[in-house]
C-alpha cells in the first residue's frame, strides 16, 4: 500500500478538525452552534459538488472561516470508480463546523470564488474553440479528394442511404449538412438498394481491391464482429448523446451515457468501454461534477461534438470504403466511443481520478490502433489525435471553472444544521427559455439559436419558411414571413445567453435605455464578445441566387468583423425585452 501524501492527510484531517472545533473544558464556554451545508447539482444523479472552497460569513459581513473545501472523495481516501463510493456518495459535497458562536448568526456561506481562475477558464475555452475551427478547416481540405472522387464516380444514388435512415442516428446530423450532400450529383435510375447491396457484399470490388479488404479483415478481427455490431446497435444513443452535448442537455447526456452501459456485456474493448462507463456512473462523482460544470457554464462540449460530427458526416462513402471496406460505417461508433472515452479521461485527470483516467486512456489507445494502415484510416487517426488533443484541455478548464463557482446560501440559522444547496445545472437552458418568452413577439431564440437546424435555415433563406412555423406564415405577426439572403444562428445555448448578457451591459445599450427609446438596436462586433476566434460559435446558410430564383444555399462565411445584431422592444412598464438577436455582416 502506498503511503499517504501530505495533501491526502490534510484532506482527510479537515473534516475531523472542523467538526470538533470549539473550546473544551471551559466552565464559561461560549454559546456555539453547529453549521453545515451541502452542495449538489440538480442533475438526474444529484451529483455532489466536492472540493469546493467556501467561506462562512457573519451577519456583520465578517468572514470567520475562510477557504475550507466541501468534502470530496479524497477526504475518504477514495477516488472515482473505487469500491465504496456508492455508499458514501450522498454524504459528499458537505462542510460542517461545530464551533460557530451563536451571536454571529444568521450566517451566510459563500463559495470561495476566484476571479483569476474564471479568467483562466475563459482563456482555455477560447483556445479550445480556436483549435476546433482549425481542425475543421484542415479536415475539410484533406477530405476534398474523396469528395471529388465520389462525385466523379457518380455513384451517388447511394446517398439515399444516408437520408433513408440506414445510417441510424447519423440522420439527425446529416440534416445539418444538406449543403454538402446536395452538391453530390444525383444519378437517375440507380436505386439505392441495388447499389447498397452491391457495396455491402463486395465493397472491395469497387474501392481498391486489396487494401480495403485487408483493412476490413483487420478491423473486424481487432474489434470483434459481435462487439462492432453491438456498438453499431447503440448508434442512435451515441448520436443522441452528441446532440445532447451540443445542446447542453445534461439530462440527455446522462440518460444516453446510462444506456451505453449496456455495452458492458460485449467482448473486447467495446465491452471495456461499457464496463468503464457503468463504473464511472455508479461509482463516479468528481468527473461527473466537472462535466456538469463545463456544460453548465461553457459551450465547449457542444462545440466539440458539433465539430466532430461535422467532419464525420463530411466523409463520403468511398472514404469509409477505402478505410475499412464496408458501407455500413461500423467504425463511426468506435470513433464516437473514443471521443467519449477521451472526454471522461480528461475530466478524470482534472479531477484527480487517475484510476478512471487510466481505464479510459487504455480504451482510447486501443481504438486509436484501428486508425492506421491505409491512407483513409491514417487520416481518420490524424483527425482523432487533433480532437483528442483539444479534449485533453477540458480537465484543466473544469478545474478552473470549479474554482470560480459563485454561489451564496444566506440565513443559515442554528436550528438548521444542514442546508442543501441545489446548484442549477440547467443554467443556460433556463435562461434561454426565459429569452424565448421574453416579451410579445420575441423570436431571437426561436429563429437564431442552436436548435434551429441547417435545414430550417435553408428553408428560411431559400423559401422564406419561418423556423417558428415551418411555413411561409410568420410566427410572430401571422403575415408573410420576412427573410433575407442569410439565415444565421448562434450554435449553443451558452453562447446565446452570454451574448445577450454582454449586450445588456454594453454602453451602447445602456445609453439607449437611458434615453427610453421605443426600440433599441445594438450592433456589437463578435470579436468584442467572444474574442477573435468566434467563428466556431456561429453558423449560417446563405442563399445562392435571388429571392425570386433561389438556387441552393451554402454555409455562411462570417467575416472577421461580423457583428451581433439585436433588437430590444420596450414593455409597457418601461423595461426592455430581447425581440431578436443574430450574427450579421456589418
Amino acid at each position: 500500500m502506498n503511503p499517504l501524501q501530505p495533501y491526502q492527510v490534510t484532506a482527510r484531517a479537515q473534516k475531523t478538525a472542523y467538526e470538533n472545533t470549539g473550546e473544551f473544558g471551559c466552565p464559561t464556554g461560549k454559546c456555539t452552534m453547529p453549521v453545515g451545508i451541502q452542495f449538489f447539482y440538480d442533475d438526474p444523479l444529484e451529483t455532489p459538488i466536492t472540493d469546493l472552497g467556501i467561506n462562512i460569513i457573519t451577519k456583520q459581513g465578517e468572514a470567520i472561516v475562510q477557504g475550507p473545501k466541501t468534502e470530496s472523495l479524497l477526504t475518504r481516501g477514495l477516488q472515482d470508480s473505487d469500491e465504496g463510493v456508492e455508499e458514501i456518495r450522498q454524504e459528499l459535497g458537505g462542510f460542517s463546523h461545530s464551533g460557530i458562536e451563536v451571536k454571529n448568526s444568521p450566517l451566510s456561506i459563500e463559495t470561495d470564488y476566484d476571479e483569476a481562475a474564471e479568467k483562466e477558464a475563459w482563456e482555455i475555452e477560447k483556445n479550445i474553440v480556436a483549435g476546433l475551427h482549425t481542425v475543421e478547416e484542415a479536415m475539410k481540405t484533406k477530405l476534398k479528394p474523396y469528395v471529388a472522387a465520389w462525385q466523379k464516380d457518380g455513384l451517388s444514388s447511394a446517398i439515399t442511404a444516408y437520408n433513408s435512415g440506414r445510417m441510424k442516428g447519423l440522420q439527425m446530423w446529416w440534416d445539418e449538412e444538406t449543403d454538402f450532400w446536395n452538391t453530390i450529383p444525383k444519378v437517375a435510375g440507380k436505386a439505392y438498394d441495388a447499389v447498397y447491396d452491391h457495396y455491402a457484399e463486395n465493397p472491395w470490388r469497387l474501392f481498391g481491391p486489396y487494401a480495403a479488404y485487408e483493412a476490413a479483415t483487420n478491423i473486424w478481427d481487432s474489434i470483434g464482429q459481435s462487439a462492432a455490431q453491438a456498438a453499431w446497435g447503440k448508434m442512435l444513443q451515441l448520436s443522441a448523446l452528441m446532440k445532447a452535448l451540443l445542446y447542453g442537455d445534461i439530462d440527455g447526456v446522462i440518460s444516453n451515457l446510462k444506456d451505453l452501459t449496456g455495452l458492458s456485456t460485449v467482448e473486447g474493448y467495446i465491452g471495456e468501454f461499457g464496463k468503464m462507463l457503468k463504473d464511472a456512473l455508479d461509482k463516479g462523482v468528481e468527473w461527473l461534477r466537472d462535466m456538469i460544470e463545463v456544460i453548465r457554464r461553457t459551450p465547449v462540449f457542444g462545440l466539440i461534438a458539433r465539430t466532430f460530427m461535422r467532419i464525420i458526416v463530411h466523409m463520403t462513402p468511398n472514404f469509409w470504403a477505402e478505410g475499412m471496406g464496408t458501407f455500413e460505417g461500423y467504425i463511426i461508433p468506435e470513433a464516437i466511443i473514443m471521443l467519449i472515452s477521451s472526454i471522461i479521461a480528461a475530466l478524470s485527470v482534472g479531477a484527480g481520478s487517475l484510476v478512471l483516467a487510466l481505464r479510459c486512456a487504455a480504451i482510447v489507445k486501443k481504438i486509436r490502433l484501428l486508425f492506421s494502415g491505409n491512407k483513409a484510416l491514417k487520416l481518420m487517426g490524424v483527425f482523432m489525435d487533433a480532437i483528442t488533443e483539444l479534449v485533453n484541455k477540458v480537465g484543466k478548464l473544469a478545474k478552473k471553472l470549479r474554482q470560480s463557482i459563485k454561489e451564496v446560501e444566506e440565513n443559515l440559522s442554528s436550528a438548521k444544521n444542514k442546508a442543501i444547496k441545489m446548484v442549477e445545472v440547467r443554467y443556460f437552458k433556463r435562461r434561454l427559455n426565459k429569452l424565448r418568452h421574453h416579451g410579445p413577439g420575441a423570436h431571437g431564440v426561436q429563429r437564431h439559436e442552436g436548435e434551429v437546424t441547417a435545414k430550417m435555415l435553408d428553408d428560411r433563406c431559400l423559401h422564406g419558411k419561418d423556423p417558428m412555423t415551418g411555413t411561409t406564415t410568420d410566427g410572430v405577426h401571422g403575415g408573410n414571413h420576412g427573410y433575407g439572403k442569410d439565415a444565421t444562428k448562434i450554435n449553443t445555448p451558452a453562447d446565446f445567453v452570454r451574448a445577450y448578457e454582454y449586450i445588456i451591459k454594453d454602453p451602447s445599450f445602456l445609453a439607449a435605455k437611458a434615453l427610453g427609446e421605443p426600440k433599441i438596436i445594438t450592433q456589437i462586433p463578435m470579436e468584442k464578445i467572444f474574442d477573435s476566434d468566434f467563428k466556431s460559435r456561429l453558423f449560417g446558410r446563405t442563399r445562392v441566387g435571388s429571392k425570386n430564383n433561389p438556387s441552393h444555399a451554402v454555409d455562411t462565411v462570417f467575416p472577421d468583423n461580423t457583428e451581433l445584431f439585436a433588437i430590444f422592444k420596450k414593455n409597457t412598464d418601461g423595461s426592455y425585452y430581447l425581440y431578436t438577436m443574430y450574427p450579421k455582416f456589418p
Binding site: G484, E517, Y582
Partner: protein, 101 residues
Amino acid sequence: MIQENTIPQNLNKLFSGYLTANDYEPYEVYEMLNFFSTEVKTEVKKELFSIVEKQLWSVEYYLRLTGFEMQSKKAMYLYLEGIYKFIFESGELPDITQFEE
C-alpha cells in the same frame, strides 16, 4: 456630410430597427420617429434625402444593411424614394417585393 456606404446613427435606428428583411415592420417606424426630437427628426429627414439624391448607397451595402437584395441600383433608389415619402410625407408604403431581386 455623409460618406458613401455609411448610415448616420439615428437614421440607422429607422432602417435597422424597422426596415430589415428579417424584421420588416415599416408601419411601426413612426414610434421611433415620434420619439425623436423635432431637431433630430429634421436631421434624419435631411440625411435620407441626401442619400437618395446623391445615391450614396450601393446595392451591396443595402444588402448588408438590411438583408434585402435589390434588383438594381435604380430599383433600390425608387424604393428608397418611396420610403422617404412614406416616412416623411405621408406617402404610400412602397411594396418591397416589387424591387427585390
